[in-house]
C-alpha cells in the first residue's frame, strides 16, 4: 500500500508531467515534419493502408501532419496540454488500429510514422508496440497535468 502511494505520488509530480510532455511532444514534432515536407509521398502511404476511400486520402495527408505538429508544440510549450493529451491519445488509438488492421490483413506497407522516404520504416508489430508506448506518457499528462511549467493552462479539470 505504501509502495503504491509512493508510486502515485511520484507519478503525479509536475516534473514527471513535464518529462512526459517533452518526450511525447518531441516525438510528435519529429513525426510530423517529414510528412509536412513531402505531402504527396505521405498521401501515397495513407493510400497504401487501404482503409480510406480515395477521396479522403489527400484530406488526411494534408491535415494529419499539422495536427501532429500542433499537438506536439502544445505539449512542448505547455499550451492547453490536457486538451492536447486527449487529442494525442485519440490519434494514437486510431494509428494503432490502422497499423494493426494492416498487419492483420498481411499488407506489407511502410509505417509512415517517422519517414515517408521510399522503402524506409517498414510496418511491423514493433511499430505498433512503440505507438502503444507513446500512449502511456500521454495518459500521465491527461491524468496528472496541473498546468505547472506551462505557457497557457486555461483552467484545468481537477
Amino acid at each position: 500500500m505504501v509502495k503504491t502511494n509512493l508510486f502515485v505520488s511520484l507519478l503525479e509530480r509536475p516534473e514527471v508531467t513535464l518529462g512526459c510532455r517533452l518526450l511525447v511532444g518531441m516525438v510528435f514534432i519529429l513525426a510530423a515534419w517529414p510528412k509536412i515536407s513531402h505531402p504527396e509521398a505521405f498521401a501515397r502511404l495513407v493510400y497504401n493502408y487501404r482503409l480510406l476511400p480515395d477521396g479522403a486520402v489527400n484530406l488526411v495527408a494534408i491535415i494529419l501532419p499539422w495536427l501532429e505538429l500542433v499537438m506536439g508544440l502544445a505539449f512542448v510549450f505547455g499550451i492547453w496540454s490536457r486538451a492536447a493529451s486527449l487529442v494525442i491519445i485519440l490519434m494514437m488509438i486510431v494509428f494503432i488500429g490502422a497499423m494493426g488492421s494492416a498487419l492483420i490483413r498481411g499488407l506489407n506497407v511502410q509505417c509512415g510514422c517517422f519517414s515517408v522516404q521510399k522503402g524506409e520504416g517498414q510496418l511491423t508489430w514493433l511499430s505498433l508496440l512503440r505507438d502503444g508506448g507513446v500512449i502511456l506518457p500521454a495518459l500521465q499528462v491527461a491524468w496528472f497535468d496541473k498546468g505547472i511549467y506551462s505557457l497557457i493552462t486555461g483552467k484545468q479539470m481537477n
Partner: protein, 170 residues
C-alpha cells in the same frame, strides 16, 4: 456537462482548428499543393511506367504466367507469399534483398524477362524490387502494378505454400 469539461472541449476544438487552418493554409501556399481529393486507384493503375520501368497489365501477365521463359517475381515477404501467390511465381522479398540477392542471382541469372508484383497499386515492393534488379544487371523488367489483388479479383488461379523461393532451398 461541467464547466471544466466544456472548457477542455473548447480547447480541443481550438487546437484542432489551428491545425486545420495551418494545414490548408500551407497547402495553398505550396506549389503545387496537394489537391483536396484525388482518385488514387485510378492515378496509380493508369501509370504506364514507374521510375522508367514499364508497367504491364493483367491480361499480359495472365497470358504469360505459364511461360517458362518469363520470371514472375513476388516481392512480398515469405509468410505473405505462402498465403497466396501467382502460380509459379518466385519469391524474392525486397525487405531482405541484401540477405538473399546473391543466392537469387546464382539460381536465376539475368537471362529472362522479369515481371515483379506485390499486392497491388497500394504497395511499393514490386516497384522497389524492379528498380533494384534493374540496377543489378537484370534487363527487360516490367512491373505488374495491379498486383495480386486484381489477379485474385479476376478469378485467376493462385497457389499457396512454399512455392519457389528466390533464395535458399526450394
Amino acid at each position: 456537462m461541467t464547466l471544466a469539461v466544456r472548457r477542455t472541449c473548447a480547447q480541443v476544438a481550438a487546437l484542432g482548428m489551428v491545425a486545420i487552418l495551418l494545414a490548408f493554409g500551407s497547402n495553398a501556399l505550396r506549389n503545387p499543393g496537394l489537391p483536396w481529393m484525388e482518385d488514387w486507384t485510378k492515378k496509380l493503375t493508369n501509370l504506364t511506367s514507374v521510375g522508367g520501368i514499364p508497367v504491364v497489365d493483367l491480361p499480359v501477365v495472365a497470358g504469360s504466367y505459364e511461360d517458362q521463359n518469363i520470371m514472375i517475381i513476388d516481392a512480398r515477404d515469405r509468410e505473405i507469399y505462402e498465403q497466396s501467390h501467382i502460380p509459379g511465381a518466385i519469391n524474392l522479398p525486397i525487405h531482405a534483398i541484401d540477405q538473399f540477392f546473391d543466392q537469387f542471382q546464382s539460381q536465376f541469372p539475368p537471362v529472362m524477362p522479369v515481371i515483379t508484383y506485390c499486392d497491388g497499386a497500394g504497395c511499393d515492393q514490386a516497384a522497389n524490387l524492379a528498380e533494384f534488379l534493374k540496377n543489378n544487371g537484370y534487363g527487360q523488367i516490367h512491373i505488374f502494378l495491379a498486383g495480386l489483388s486484381e489477379w485474385t479479383k479476376a478469378g485467376l488461379p493462385t497457389e499457396t505454400g512454399p512455392g519457389k523461393r528466390g533464395y535458399g532451398q526450394n
